[in-house]
Symmetry: C3
Subunit: 506 residues, 3 copies
């Protein structure tokens, strides 16, 4: 027989011992931590000017550990992926100057500031100095292209224009005006990322006297696909929030909820009513969100968003359950987010080249068939599913996991079918001249019956699929789920009839 | 005069002393904890195969305390209700084998596994060995019959079919097809529970070589009224989540939120904007969710779902404020959930025998009168209300509590009245042949105006009542409350008119 | 170079030392804490009768610190604003009797209770004894007048009546009946506050024998603008929840969420998907919610509702970033909450005197122009904006902050424009006799097309503005944001057409 309580006791003893050692060792460790002269000069003023930022940074790991120290650890325990210290970074911690003055020529927002060439916007190219693997993985993530993938797509632009444009009422008719940049930045681009431009310089009267600063448009913004003044795409700070850059924050679903909670993509909302979400929020006070690698069963006992989609996960025995990925979609068989149907993930993070057979920049036809030449094939789909199932297997039997994903497969089928039916109803409106669509050279998103069609795939089908994928049942039924998916069709059908009768009276 | 701070000080001293004693005693306690040979054999492999489950279990109370130890406590401090140790369980902790190999003949999902007769699905009959009182209480809970109560009711089946069925668009008409089992399992039955069937055997290639496993349909599922392969009804793990079975988790409202957050039954959402919810989430880091009995004012200072509806609650003086119940409805005067009107609770947990005067399997008439012969009477209603009010009285005066429930009584009246008015509107649609109802042998839930009627009682009336019962004001007004209850009637009325005019044009 | 880790180490040492000192000093502190004889007598019974309340109070600061002790602190560390101890309160802690028996003549709900003149409802006038500054600030807060501002406004009353009134269906027509007091109390007045009246006395049979109590209507209620039996307005306990009155609770956004989460005013919901909300909920276990003053960067590293709108905020260096205010609106340039348009804040907390040029009791015309004589001017608006921006500056550069508020300015413009367009549509319905408005002496909130107009400004414009102000992007787009703001106009336009055609058929 095995002695379970004894095991617990040893754990406690170890924990105590480790704590004692940490305390004892602190002065020694402290001796090794060095802040560069440049950073110290930044802090000299900013401790007073923006004390909150400086305080955040002081709490950060970057303020405490040098690259050389980091490189002494086993690779699976490192948070840096560079093989050797970048020039000048070996023995100082990463502070203000290390990020905000690197490669000044590359940064169009560089300005002279107290003798330093400083840039406001730190970009993935800056982070690349120490985190090259993560940076290149993220470049394969659809999110890194979220600005262009949205703004350079003529169909999605129709949706943006109809959502963000101000409407006026003239002679009994509504007219939509083109949205302005500030509104787009406050709306879609808050998550997708803006294109930040340097528009000149401005002199400000500060506590330190007159100083010159760059004038930026599209700023502030921390969208995942931000186009930066140095030409790079993305904002690591979207998830690794400034200036503590805490892995504890990034690993909690609240970070993802910034952009994945709304009715279009209710992943967070679904998670929070799932068993996993229940365990997370009920027990997280006893979890370790800082540990690298992240050990299933020891550091946490139910997955968060990061566990399934991002983090390096190991077992207590040290076996790798999942490799770290910042591509994120490489553990997902389907792109559940319908455009307008759920489909296999695109093969490239830049989806601006996609064209379906009808000539539209969409990954599926309006009738549902996927534009397969631009999407991953069945083999890659299975590889990705297996990666995900290996994570499930840390706690669930194969039979459980297969049963779970069998339901998801069916949900993809049925929600796509319900999207197709809704498309047939709106198509019928276009055909009968009750609404103006592509053939009338009009937006397909700017009339009531078209918007009810948008609700069908953007809200109800997505909600149902996310709920099915993550086991948050409410969102598969009454919380924007199948109940709405069904009722909306009846609403569209009646509306079509009302439009038809109204037209006949004219 | 009394010295308050001194009292605090003594508490601290005691806490410190207790901590020291626990540490000192650990090896002694450890000596008493014994894992059975069978369970040890399970762990031998599963520590590697499904490490997360094993780790959860190790954290559980079941892994640490034997029945004999539990029986040495005062009855009100026990978590088991059995009077004497079941055979073989006296001196071992409850591990894998104790649950997954008990009564192999009863379990149709039993399969041979490394020399043991193992069943996948642990059922209330298995838990009954140590928790017979809770098991029999739960059998009186409507939830334990949630599968049959839903699936064997011809009216509710109409709703299921219209929600889960895929619709097609043929010759300008929508047609609803019968939903399949996987979809029902992913939708309504995720919470209500599936019927799990053994459909044969499958051989899998595992890390341990080829092994045979049962093929289960309706699996995975942890719905409250799951029909298990051993014929029993329910899944204790719906709330006591595997494999830690933590009372800390079950007592937090996040567990209930798995099924009680959506617009049909927004109990959790309401709670979270109530004073009680505010206190819970703001202060829970200082509460004790593990203590049995649960002491009001000491372990917690605002109720959670469990405090009012389930747990054994005592005062600091040791007086019983509420007895533990897994029947759950025995502290509730009303069944607030409208079907289609709020009504006194059914007398039996199996509601499939209910028939109203119109011959429908509903606890009220469509015109609102309750089918009293199947429901608890006024006397029992008052007993249940008094039980609840006694809990309120731990913190509130009688005048407060009576004032609170007076508002709820009025809310039940007015929301039932608003449901009746909506029913009259939809009845008028049926009478005028603008929609097909029971008299036309059609579903009463599958047309737009009918679904707006469903919204009235299933979403807006329910939301208003839950908000009134628990003091979450938003849900009584603008968050699916009275504002919607009122506006929806106007919408229905206009819709009826549009249907009427459309028909007249045909 | 500066040694960062050493700084951490010193912090730890200090913390340890402080802890030791606190423990050592406890008996000394305890010796100074004294409960009055009267309060001790209250507790004598209520420890048994309502143990939860007593336990809450024991945990409270009021039970531990006397006014004289509080007055020994630096003013910025005090939680009381009185300059000298009120009579009798110098050396006793504030217990039951100190609040519930003060000024018995003023309180109409005073009753004889075991030899004391006790009143049930403690009011801002009672709290005023020790917190006069906060009490007078709160009197300038719109919330303190929330009862009269709502109930004494003929336009808002139309909305209340249409929301809370029960409707009947007679001869194919809906008819709305006036709502009763209990319903209003359970609905709008739950947050706005009721008017509490003493309606007589009742004798109750208690555990202590027969006792007489006052009969109160409008009770229980903790709305922010409650009209109390002593004539005062407000309930400090709306935010400082009885009977612990914890600043830790009041400073967390859950307190505000009690009334600011619904679709009309989704401030909490927006906050929770913002960066600030993410940091709060991910890191709050390491924050200090008790400290006065509240030090940015030390006690918390992202703002909660209280940080921006209420609390005294200082920097680590001891500079005041924001003065404490219970007026709350004095850091806000705009009243984002549209009535029906966003507008500058009213100059007085009592808005019952406001009349726009059209003679309506509204702060703007129905066409959008603000009723400026009743509102703060541009100069005061800028002062308030600067107060808020100073808080932002603790962590953000001027360029960041200005960029942020530039987006908000545009959002105020565009959402007001979208409200105006919707108003033109409903005006057109009134003009064409398709709906009855003010000119037909009818409510402007009781028909379907009018309610869709209400949705436009009350839900979608408000949601978009709150999201813009606090950076919770979802609520600016798909979660009741611009997508709905746009789609609702199309829905209204089609509805107008359907109404028109229906009328033409009659």
């Amino acid at each position: 027989m095995r002695d379970v309580a004894f095991r617990q006791y040893i754990k406690l003893l170890t924990l105590t011992a480790v704590t004692v050692i940490i305390f004892a060792a602190a002065p020694g460790v402290a001796g090794a931590v060095q802040v560069s002269d440049a950073t110290e000069e930044c802090i000299g003023c900013h401790d007073e000017v923006t004390p909150g930022i400086v305080s955040d940074w002081r709490e950060s790991r970057m303020a405490k550990v040098t690259i050389n120290e980091a490189l002494q650890k086993n690779p699976d325990k490192r948070r840096v992926s560079v093989k050797a210290p970048p020039q000048g970074l070996a023995d100082v911690v990463v502070g203000c100057a290390e990020c905000h003055t690197s490669s000044p020529d590359r940064h169009k927002d560089t300005f002279e500031h107290n003798g330093y060439n400083v840039h406001t916007i730190v970009t993935p190219e800056d982070c690349n100095a120490c985190h090259p693997v993560e940076r290149s993985q993220y470049a394969k993530n659809l999110m890194s292209n979220a600005y262009g993938n949205l703004m350079d797509n003529s169909v999605y632009r129709m949706l943006i224009d109809s959502v963000n444009g101000v409407q006026s009422f003239e002679q009994g008719m509504l007219r939509t005006h083109a949205p302005d940049d500030l509104t787009n930045a406050d709306s879609c681009l808050a998550c997708h990322g803006t294109r930040i431009k340097v528009e000149g310089q401005v002199v400000r009267d500060t506590d330190m006297g007159e100083m010159e600063f760059p004038v930026l448009t599209g700023w502030p913004n921390q969208g995942v696909g931000r186009v930066n003044p140095d030409g790079s795409k993305g904002a690591c700070t979207a998830c690794h929030t400034r200036h503590e850059f805490s892995i504890k924050v990034a690993r909690q679903p609240y970070t993802c909820s910034q952009c994945h909670k709304g009715p279009d993509v209710p992943a967070y909302a679904v998670y929070m009513v799932s068993k996993h979400g229940n365990l997370f929020v009920s027990q997280k006070d006893g979890w370790n969100f800082e540990s690298v690698p992240w050990v299933a069963g020891e550091d946490f006992n139910a997955p968060t968003c990061a566990s399934c989609h991002v983090s390096l996960i190991e077992s207590e025995a040290g076996d790798v359950i999942a490799e770290r990925t910042h591509q994120m979609n490489d553990r997902s068989k389907w792109r559940l987010f319908g455009l307008i149907y759920a489909h296999p993930h695109p093969g490239s993070a830049d989806v601006t080249t996609i064209k379906n057979r009808a000539g539209l920049p969409l990954p599926t036809e309006l009738t549902g068939e996927p534009a397969m030449e631009f999407l991953i094939g069945p083999e890659e789909q299975e590889i990705r599913l297996e990666r995900m199932m290996k994570i499930c297997s840390a706690c669930h039997s194969r039979s459980w996991t297969e049963g779970h994903f069998a339901k998801l497969e069916r949900t993809v089928e049925t929600t796509n079918a319900m999207t197709k039916t809704a498309t047939q109803v709106v198509q019928s409106a276009w055909d009968l001249n009750l609404s103006k669509g592509l053939e009338q050279n009009d937006s397909i998103f700017n009339e009531a019956i078209e918007q009810k069609w948008v609700n069908q795939w953007l809200f109800y089908a997505n909600s149902t699929r996310f709920a099915s994928a993550m086991g948050g049942a409410d969102y598969a039924v009454f919380a924007n789920g199948r109940y709405y998916l069904s009722a909306n069709l009846q609403e569209m059908s009646d509306w079509l009839r009302f439009l038809d009768k109204a037209k006949k009276q004219e």
